[in-house]
């Protein structure tokens, strides 16, 4: 049985992934990529759940991961639908174009 990977490593990996996703959301201007980075963030937390689950040897972590996957899917689909609508109106996918309201 391969040597058990210590939980801390797993969590650190999940943390790095999470940070990458977050930076992606902040930096990217295209809606599609923003949605992608959100996906990364969600998967990072899913990974954390799986690692935690494996530490306690319970399936709960993986069940939560499945919930997260399904939810991520719904989010992205709704997100793409909204992006489509925005593109229809503004002819651009630039997220900053959608900032008519301020102040």
């Amino acid at each position: 049985m391969i040597a058990a990977v210590p939980m801390a490593h797993g969590l650190i990996l999940a943390g790095c992934l999470f940070a990458i996703g977050l930076i992606g959301v902040l930096v990217r201007r295209d809606i599609i990529f923003v949605l992608a980075s959100i996906e990364i963030m969600l998967n990072a937390s899913g990974l954390a759940f799986v690692v935690a689950g494996s530490r306690w040897g319970q399936p709960d972590g993986q069940i939560m991961f499945i919930f997260i996957l399904t939810m991520a899917a719904t989010e992205v689909s709704v997100g793409l639908a909204l992006a489509l609508q925005l593109h229809g109106r503004l002819r651009t996918l630039d997220i900053d174009a959608a900032s008519k309201m301020r102040g």
Binding site: L22, V25, L26, V27, V34, D96, S99, K100, R102, G103
Partner: protein, 631 residues
Amino acid sequence: MLQLLWLVPALPFAGFVLLALSGRRLPDRWVPFIGVGSVGLSLLAAVLVATSFLAAPPPGYAYSQTLWTWMSVGSFTPGITLYLDALSLVMVVVVTFVGFFIHLYSAEFMAGGEGYGRFFAYMNLFVGSMLTLVLASNLLLLYLGWEGVGLCSYLLIGFWYQDSYNGYAARKAFVVTRVGDAALAIGLFLIFNSLGTLEIQDLMRRAAQQWAPGSALALSAAALLLVGALGKSAQLPLQTWLPDAMAGPTPVSALIHAATMVTAGVYLIARTNVLFALAPAVQLAVAVIGAVTLLLAGFSALTQWDIKRVLAYSTISQIGYMFLALGVGAWTAAIFHFMTHAFFKSLLFLAAGVVIMSLDEEHDMFKMGGLRRSLPLAFWTFLVGAASLSALPLVTAGGYSKESILYQAWAGQAGSPWLWAVGIAGAFLTGMYSFRMVFLTFFGEMKQQPSKKPSIDIGIPLVVLAALSIAGGYIDLPRTLGNLPILSSFLQNTLPPTVIAQPAIDTELVLGVIAGVVPLIGIYFAYLLFFQRRPAYADGPTRVARGGPLYRLWFAGWGFDWLYDRLIVRPFVWAARADKDDVIDSVYDGITRLNVVFNNLLSGTESGRVRWYAAGIALGAVVVIAIGVFA
């Protein structure tokens, strides 16, 4: 008949209420009947009460009549109670007597003018308040009368309200006297707090028991009462308002600023004599203030060109004599001088009123002259008044009263030769300025033709007062001249007798002669300066402009007005005006501006861009985690 006492102050008040309510509806013909009538009835009542008082003096030589308790709060229960004794009897009779004749005079003098009813309403209110002041048995009721007369002097000085100067003079009078009243009020608090009562007779008894002579309480109480008296009686340093008070109609000056109100301070000190006896230092201060005031006022009177301002300064000077008498413990002499002064000073004012009226409101003596043939009645009565003012010996009432003051200033136990010397110098000055006034107005060539002749209504008061200015003195003849001290012995029932240090007869004789001769010298000087060498100036103001610096200083009342204006009035007005928009308000405006700044700062964060919001959340996350984990 003593029960009628309450009628004496009530009648003038009733007159005031009637005139105030009727307002403009009452035709001018009826106004004097109410105005003069009410004071006349009050005089009648006073005389009745006086006769029954003298005939059968009530026990303890005092009669007290309580109308109702004004207020009762815990141990503080002042009542509206009238107290009649020898002192207040003299005051009541003089006030009502002089008041009645001045009302008679003003019935004709003020006729035809606008606000005739209003004038008599205020005059009646004044007489009522003065009588309340004089008859009050406790200091609170005295304070009510005290402020009442101050109010009426304000209303009457500012009677011709169209001219804003009169308004200024009236406000000045009320504010300056109000300063004195504030001190008096503090005196009242001190007395009540320490003695537990404001009833004058009780507080004097308790003060004698509890306060050691010269103790802090006695000194401060007497000092506060003195400041109150200074304010009302226009003595140093609160005398600046009286010369400006001449802006009011002449009968007002005669009644209020000569005969009655200004002597309220004298009455207060005489009434609370025990407190002053307990504080010898303050009593000495009274004498010194009196002496200094009579000198300064005398010099100032010498330089005035307005006939009424001369009389105003002369009043300040004569009251200085009364304060001198009170200071040296000559209580009865002070009251005697008050009585004679009331007669001859109101006479002078009324006669001057006739001159002013007939010369179409001309006040400048240098523009008058040679009126003795055209206004004989005014001339002769004015002459009698001036003689009595300058205390011609033997003949005039003023002579007797001033002579007794001067004698007791020298011989009195608290007196001193210095005070006497100042008194004599004052007498010299009085003789000089009073006859300067006579020569300038009535002698020399006629500059203006008098237009109106005074009628009978004005004549009677002049003649009566002239008679009293002459005969008034015989009521209290000193030892050297017939020894008939009727008034003093009568007053001794209330006021303590004066303690004479060396009662030697010859000193009294010598002093009497000196007191008689000095005014004559003064008159002679006036004759030299103002009768033989006719002054070349066309009018008063040029005379002052040409006068030397000392002359201008005296004209401006020794610069007190200038000093107070610089010291108090200007800074207060500047400070108030500078802070008009309330600096504290700007503090709150500052707070609101701070809020607006924060608002702009924060609403900057609402940039509308999603990535900015995400950054906000990320930053917030870092901060929250940092605090959550490490704090």
